[in-house]
Symmetry: C2
Subunit: 313 residues, 2 copies
């Protein structure tokens, strides 16, 4: 096993497309292994090529099925594909609630598809802290496109957009999803809208709603709206075309801006996590205990205590 | 208006029970006013008396109705009551999605009830950063009991427990809520379980499920399970009795432990928010930009960049 942990060899193996090396590296990331820093340093020169595509949308809209259909469509164009299903579980809950990943199994034997689910529970820095490292592994492994999907609900649906070059927002027709999505703010982050289950009633109404929202935006990129039926694959090739069109648009300058903003957030999250750890180490912990006792007794207030804590870091 | 902003006078007014002063102070907290530090310092000596009770549970369980019924029951015992309805909206969404607060209006004219909703969107430190300050205002204003309730769903449901001395977990009968709640981890945080809408079928099954869960816990406090119909007030007096019994239990030593842990988290959150702000100031921002560019070009990796950022704070 010691040989396995040679980070340089693992990265070389991942670059040659060895599935085991890729899996191993992502595990090191997920487990916050002590060698994570070495992994990150070794990957750095080999990243930046993959196009990262986020999938977001309300529960039940067919994200998992759409992801699988996209893999099929991308493979038809001979793209090497990575899939990262991120599971932002509660800090208390035990295992990953991964749901139905059955559809993914049809790709399990394809050497040019890497599928990985990842729990971010308990990671310092959460989704923003852990997922980018896993994306770097898949990037270095030569994926042309990486699909990132969240399992479950909540704010991380929006967070996922912060990881992606291109964000697909999925909605279902006629279920008021449009309005719900607007409330949750996810419409603001969509580069491409996908109305899945578009064989159901209400698809045209939903398209009209979305068109109105897109029309109000001030952006050079006019977000397209694609109708799909992911279970049959209908419309999915068009989604791939739009993804590639968006990539070309981004290449005009916005890609670097987006990625720079992303890396900034990532560095910030890591720096904060590192400072947080220091507050919890032996010295920091004793100091924090004293400060908290002062606040509880009314001798100090949280702002003053926080200042003192920062001062001593 | 300048007179209004005299923090010392506002705190004195709040302590005399003046509703306007209380409202004004909470607004200062909510808006992250520059005078927030002065507010916090002025409140510090006058806090620690109120019993903070958190209400949590899945959407549709009747949290708002239960909160209102609890206010009625507490007023019948001549307790002064504060209600803080916290709205943890998405970072993108606009206004507060406050839902139906109609039931609260029956208490609106009662001088011994303070009702306040509060949006925590965009607050550095989120719920953990903003809500405790508002609770201190209500505490200093002489509330005997403060009920804290979240509006909406998600992880903040669990976070709310971190703010409370006593946490009520509400479930509805026979809807599989028990299992859902277990998944979300909220059963682990309940000091008192309330099966609301207990006139519906399945209340006894749900009680049995909860009893099994409670029985597995290793704790001196045996969490009681109370059946209520909040719309009629049935069982609500018993909930108040259990809240008071839990407070007595806590007084045996656990109260100080819980509050100390809470203040620790609060100080940590504030210190991290302050460090985060520094990263975003003029100097920090330029440095972060350079570091991000290095990572993007493959000259550095996020861990190394985060180290350099922390070093220069």
């Amino acid at each position: 096993m010691a040989v396995d942990l040679n980070v340089g060899e693992l990265v070389a193996g991942a670059r040659r497309g060895e599935a085991r090396a890729v899996a191993r590296l992502i595990s090191l990331v997920e487990d916050e292994s002590p060698s994570l820093r070495d992994v990150s340093a070794a990957l750095a020169p080999h990243t930046g090529r993959a196009h990262i595509v986020g999938l977001t949308g309300p529960p039940g809209v067919g994200k998992s099925t759409s992801t699988s259909a996209l893999v099929t469509a991308l493979r038809a164009k001979e793209r090497r594909v990575g899939v990262l299903a991120v599971d932002p579980t509660s800090p208390f809950s035990g295992g990953a609630l991964l749901g139905d990943r059955v559809r993914m199994q049809e790709h399990a034997t394809d050497d040019d598809v890497y599928i990985r689910s990842m729990a971010t529970r308990g990671h310092l820095g959460g989704l923003a802290g852990a997922a980018p490292q896993a994306l770097r592994v898949l990037d270095a492994a030569g994926c042309d496109v990486i699909l990132v999907e969240t399992v479950g609900v909540g704010q991380s649906e929006v967070e996922i957009a912060g990881l992606a070059d291109t964000t697909l927002v999925l909605v279902a027709p006629g279920t008021g999803d449009g309005i719900q999505a607007a409330k949750a703010g996810i419409l603001e982050i969509g580069d491409i809208f996908v109305i899945n289950k578009s064989d159901r009633e209400g698809a045209n109404t939903t398209r009209r709603e979305l068109r109105n929202i897109v029309a109000m935006r001030e952006s050079d990129w006019k977000a397209p709206i694609v109708l799909t039926v992911a279970t049959t694959g209908e419309g999915v090739a068009e989604v791939v075309t739009e993804i590639e069109r968006h990539r070309e648009y981004l290449a005009g300058g916005e890609l670097d801006q987006r990625r720079l903003a992303r890396v900034r957030r990532e560095i910030e999250a890591m720096a904060l996590a590192s400072l947080h750890r220091r507050m919890g180490d032996v010295t920091g912990d004793a100091r924090l205990g004293t400060l908290a006792a002062d606040v509880l007794a009314g001798r100090s207030d949280p702002f003053a205590a926080a200042d003192l804590l920062v001062e001593h870091l």
